[in-house]
Symmetry: C2
Amino acid sequence: MKTRIISACVMLPLLILVYLGGYWLMGAAILVAAMGIHELYHGFEATGVKPCKPIGFASIAGLYAIHILAPENQTLLLFWMAVCVMACLLYGFNVEERKIEDMTSTLLGIMYVVFFSYHIVLIDQSVHRILIWLVFLAAFGTDVMAYFTGMALGKHKLCPKLSPKKSIEGAVGGTISSMVFCGLFGYFLVDGMLWQCAVIGLSGSIAAQLGDLSASAIKRQMGIKDYGNLIPGHGGILDRFDSVLFTAPFIYYTMQFVLY
Amino acid sequence: MKTRIISACVMLPLLILVYLGGYWLMGAAILVAAMGIHELYHGFEATGVKPCKPIGFASIAGLYAIHILAPENQTLLLFWMAVCVMACLLYGFNVEERKIEDMTSTLLGIMYVVFFSYHIVLIDQSVHRILIWLVFLAAFGTDVMAYFTGMALGKHKLCPKLSPKKSIEGAVGGTISSMVFCGLFGYFLVDGMLWQCAVIGLSGSIAAQLGDLSASAIKRQMGIKDYGNLIPGHGGILDRFDSVLFTAPFIYYTMQFVLY
């Protein structure tokens, strides 16, 4: 519970950036991507793998340079991806010093941290930019309500090997709450879009829980408890944003299907 | 030299498929992707890593389903990528049986083999579909001419640790030849597009050589000589198509910059 309150305090400045949107939110996304790459690659290093940080950071610079110069150009986005994959492969040319895991881990960081977090910016710059709030409403709404529902009703373990405290009842409670929160948000604040936003809330809630479990699985494999130590004793940026990394793309693509 | 002649024989049926284009070429691309995933993951298994073949094959099915149902929809292509990354992460949920390399190697296969080879189809279905020939002209033209130039003039090693027989002179000869071949192709067969096709030939030749060296580096890291045994004694599909995997995306994006 204490972690959740501290998280909430970290989130307050973030909420201001979400409200401001545009370059402010893009700056926040870049910061999250850069710190996330640093933390994830640091975690890999704990297992003896050496991802290439310069490629990771260069991928962030390249992605946002493309975004600023040609915001709507998805061909350039695919080009960016191809270049990132090639850069990871070229990194392996020094066969005596590098292992194949060094390349593949570099690529995972780019796709998971940089590409996923970029969807925050994509949603923010879409026609329905107000829906950016749903990314955070689904992620943190699910987290908080799953916790309370689980505390009150939790009996059946969800995924005991991965995250021993989570219950199926909590997962269901979190999902329903996210649908209700997002539906109400849509009804009152987005031109009566009750069901569209409820569907987005459902998708975002599933994403949030998968994102949370994914981060747990990666950390378990790495043999670390937290990615970082940004908030002493309560982990790094990836520990706080593990749900958001998944809700952002899930919600962006759900928006494409539901709204357009 | 013998390998090159045998390669050429394997390429003849391919050339017919390239000429036919459309669904024929798409079928060939799907086959190359599926066999490539099989071979690459098999190579990973030699190092004790276990990539998930069902995810690899499902990614091919998903990509081409999207392509057939919505050919021009790049948002769906980004969606496909996000789903592939998530699938690889979810694969790691079974923390007791799977390692983090199992997820990252699965992702590398999808991005390197499936995504890269898909650019053949993208070029084939573009406005200038005749330029699909440049993918193969650049790849095999560079390979053959680098071999002959290297035999005649080669003195300085290009990359001795990775590929001991390649020389700088051969690389330069291959690059210039590719520019000349592609330039002449453009001049006579594509409305006098001499310089545009020469630029594409330059880009494709650099790609072909990087693709060749990348495959060597990956195989070296895996401790294998060839990916497969499709042509006994002369390797598998990835050994024959290592250059094409890189020329296809390089040429596709160069086309976007040079022609549009």
